[in-house]
């Protein structure tokens, strides 16, 4: 009996020690996270104040050099504030509202610094400065409780799960929404961009589910007579489409087809693929053009091919005008298996809603020898259409340039044909 009591006491003691240790570990972890969140909150608050002050200071200057330096600061500070906000456990809604509003300020600063429209900046930022100050005050009120001395981590833990209207950030969120609408209304180009994404403009005749399947089988005969499950997009989807899931042998996949016009937006099929290459790269290209012919897509040009273990991914872009410029936002992607050349994927969402192209944009020649530093060789040059930062579709030179050195480092440089703005520079491995 004595031994049993002795053993039981030892077990209880060991269990007690173990649970104490676990509890201690949890407390330590909580304290670490608590410290990090509080640090991020302090940083965010400081950065918000700095940003507001920088905007206020930018209203002081008329001198271009002084203002440009301030705009650079504002762009950097807005990014830093965004980074702090995204590391805080705020509700998705509050975080999104902040990221959008402050991101808009940063983009505006960058845009003005690039384009020199300083008058517009001064006109716009007077009100934004006031609004940001108000937001900064509300933020201080909302976050006070996180600095209270009781060190209660539960306050942090509850923030992300609380509905915004019941959280301390209720006012901040409501005002952010309202200020975003008034301070940064969508520009025409942004609206166009969104419309493009939403495919709301289709006016074609509506297809039944059966017709949609027929259309799919016509384009991709390999899945003919598969077992299909067809559902329609949710009622709140901005454009109606059929979601067709299929099974045929070892193939499982889906296709999304618009109800209006039966345009195939996306198709993807999964099956075991042998890594051994059965067909050549040229044969893959031939299959791609056969497919495009079947689909009736006659205005596409192959832009890039990438091989991987099981398949090739192929990118194509629409070609327009006398100068055969490539419209990158009207792209099509294909996935072709390496073992048999079977079409495993097709993505034409962007191509279905074609961009309106301004072919009249001037093409002013550039002397690449003076544009690039000595020792840079321009290897390829072609015309493309692509979006600039303001979502405007611009005709551009696309240049492949390399350093004439041991490593042959190569870059893709995109330059506006009219104003010679550099839209993009990418390192090409």
């Amino acid at each position: 009996m004595k031994s049993a009591i002795y053993l039981l006491s030892i077990a209880v003691l060991a269990l007690g020690l173990y649970s104490y240790e676990v509890r201690q570990e949890n407390t330590n972890l909580q304290q670490t996270v608590h410290a990090q969140y509080t640090n991020a909150l302090t940083n965010a608050s400081e950065r918000l104040t700095n940003l507001q002050e920088a905007i206020s200071q930018s209203l002081l200057f008329q001198d271009q050099v002084a203002l440009e330096a301030q705009l650079d600061n504002i762009w950097r500070m807005s990014n830093e504030f965004r980074s702090s906000i995204s590391s805080l456990p705020l509700s998705t809604e509050v975080a999104n509202d902040w990221l959008r509003y402050v991101g808009n300020i940063g983009e505006e600063a960058k845009y003005v610094a690039d384009n020199g429209d300083f008058e517009e900046w001064h006109k716009k930022m007077g009100k934004i400065n006031e609004n940001l100050k108000a937001l900064s005050d509300e933020w201080t009120v909302a976050t006070t409780r996180f600095y209270e001395n009781d060190g209660d981590f539960k306050k942090w833990a509850s923030v992300a799960t609380q509905e915004t209207k019941e959280s301390p950030f209720k006012n901040v969120s409501a005002n952010l929404k309202s200020y975003t609408e008034t301070d940064f209304p969508l520009t025409a180009s942004e609206s166009d961009w969104k419309k493009k994404q939403e495919l709301q403009n289709l006016t074609d005749k509506e297809l039944t589910k059966e017709q949609a399947i027929d259309k799919l089988e016509l384009l991709i005969p390999g899945i003919k007579d598969a077992t299909y499950t067809v559902t329609k997009s949710k009622e709140t989807a901005p454009y109606p489409f059929y979601h067709i899931q299929f099974v045929k042998g070892s193939r499982i996949g889906y296709a999304d087809i618009t109800v209006k016009g039966g345009h195939i937006l996306s198709f993807l099929s999964e099956r075991p693929v042998q890594e051994h290459t059965g067909i050549t790269q040229q044969q893959i290209k031939d299959r791609v053009y056969q497919f495009l012919g079947r689909a009736g897509y006659k205005d596409l040009q192959l832009v890039e091919m990438r091989e991987n273990h099981e398949a090739w991914h192929i990118s194509l872009a629409r070609v327009v005008g006398k100068d055969k410029a490539l419209v990158y936002p009207d792209g099509v992607q294909l996935k072709v298996s390496k073992d048999s050349g079977e079409l495993l994927g097709f993505n034409a969402m962007e191509y279905v809603q074609k961009e309106t192209v301004d072919e009249s944009q001037p093409v002013n020649p550039i002397d690449w020898e003076t544009f690039f530093r000595p020792g840079t060789i321009v290897e390829e040059e072609r015309l493309i259409y692509t979006e600039n930062d303001a979502f405007q579709l611009r005709k551009c030179y696309e240049v492949i340039a390399r350093f004439d050195n041991k490593l042959n480092e190569t870059f893709r440089v995109v330059v506006d044909t009219d104003n010679h703005d550099v839209i993009k520079v990418e390192y090409m491995p």
Partner: protein, 264 residues
């Protein structure tokens, strides 16, 4: 008579067997050009490096670095300068270089930083690494230029942690949501910030993001990076059986894939 025919066949096969090893390390019959990937490209880069034409990483990806090296080689050897490696380029390469296939692949498998220049003992061309700290293994996948192997790894972890029980389409969809967030002004600017934004993904909160992703999750991420978006531009998704947030139910829904509803 039968015996002599049999002996001839054996001798012929024997001769092939003796000659074959020197050819096994030579290229396959495929044309190799920009966009190609795999063992042929590893051999091409190693042989070009042997002569000093290629100074980049031997990773099996035929990018621009390899392309200019091929063109320079073709120019020097009086071949058609097209950057495409056909039979005559291969023949000239094989005749003028050595390729230590086993050694090269061993270095790649060990994750070592190494080169394959002629005239220097191979043992002096390994600059260390290994254990993941040096040159990465022969790149697992060839990605679009704007994404890195780190992005692929992080996203594969997220997809596997969030959706490994979902159909392939559902896995591509989760990857596409991450990439849609990258384009949206409402979310952070990097894939890492998006994935680790507090509360954004359940897999981060419950630690399932640290599970080792399988090949299927990586393929799903690769398809999303190459443009596939089964969600039709969704920014959020949720499991209707477990979601408790009223806000997420207020978002305009697009479609359901497996257990997830995708929405704006």
């Amino acid at each position: 008579m039968v015996r002599s025919i049999f002996m001839t066949i054996i001798l012929t096969l024997g001769t092939f067997a003796i000659v074959k090893p020197s050819e096994t390390s030579a290229f396959s019959s495929q044309l190799i050009e920009r966009g190609s990937f795999g063992d042929d490209v590893i051999e091409l880069q190693a042989r070009l490096q042997w002569l000093g034409y290629y100074n980049g990483r031997i990773d099996g990806i035929f990018g621009y670095g390899t392309y200019w090296a091929v063109r320079n080689f073709q120019k020097e050897f009086g071949l058609d300068i097209d950057g495409v490696v056909g039979s005559s380029t291969k023949k000239n390469l094989v005749n003028s270089t050595e390729y230590h296939e086993d050694w090269v692949k061993q270095q790649i498998d060990r994750g070592n930083q190494f080169t394959h220049y002629g005239g220097t003992p191979l043992s002096q061309q390994v600059k260390g690494g290994g254990g993941g700290s040096g040159q990465s293994k022969s790149s697992d996948m060839q990605l679009p230029v704007k994404y890195s192997e780190r992005d692929l790894q992080l996203m594969a972890n997220a997809v596997y942690g969030e959706a490994r029980g979902e159909p392939y389409e559902g896995q591509v969809a989760v990857a596409a949501v991450i990439l849609n967030r990258l384009e949206s002004p409402d979310f952070p600017n990097t894939i890492s910030d998006i994935i680790f934004q507090p509360g954004a993904f359940t897999a981060v909160a419950d630690g399932q993001i640290w599970l080792t992703p399988n090949e299927r999750a990586k393929q799903a991420v690769l398809d999303a990076m190459n443009g596939w978006d089964p969600t039709e531009n969704a920014l959020y998704y949720f499991n209707p059986q477990t979601a408790t947030s009223k806000w997420i139910w207020s978002r305009p829904q697009i479609k359901q894939i497996g257990d997830h509803i995708f929405c704006y």
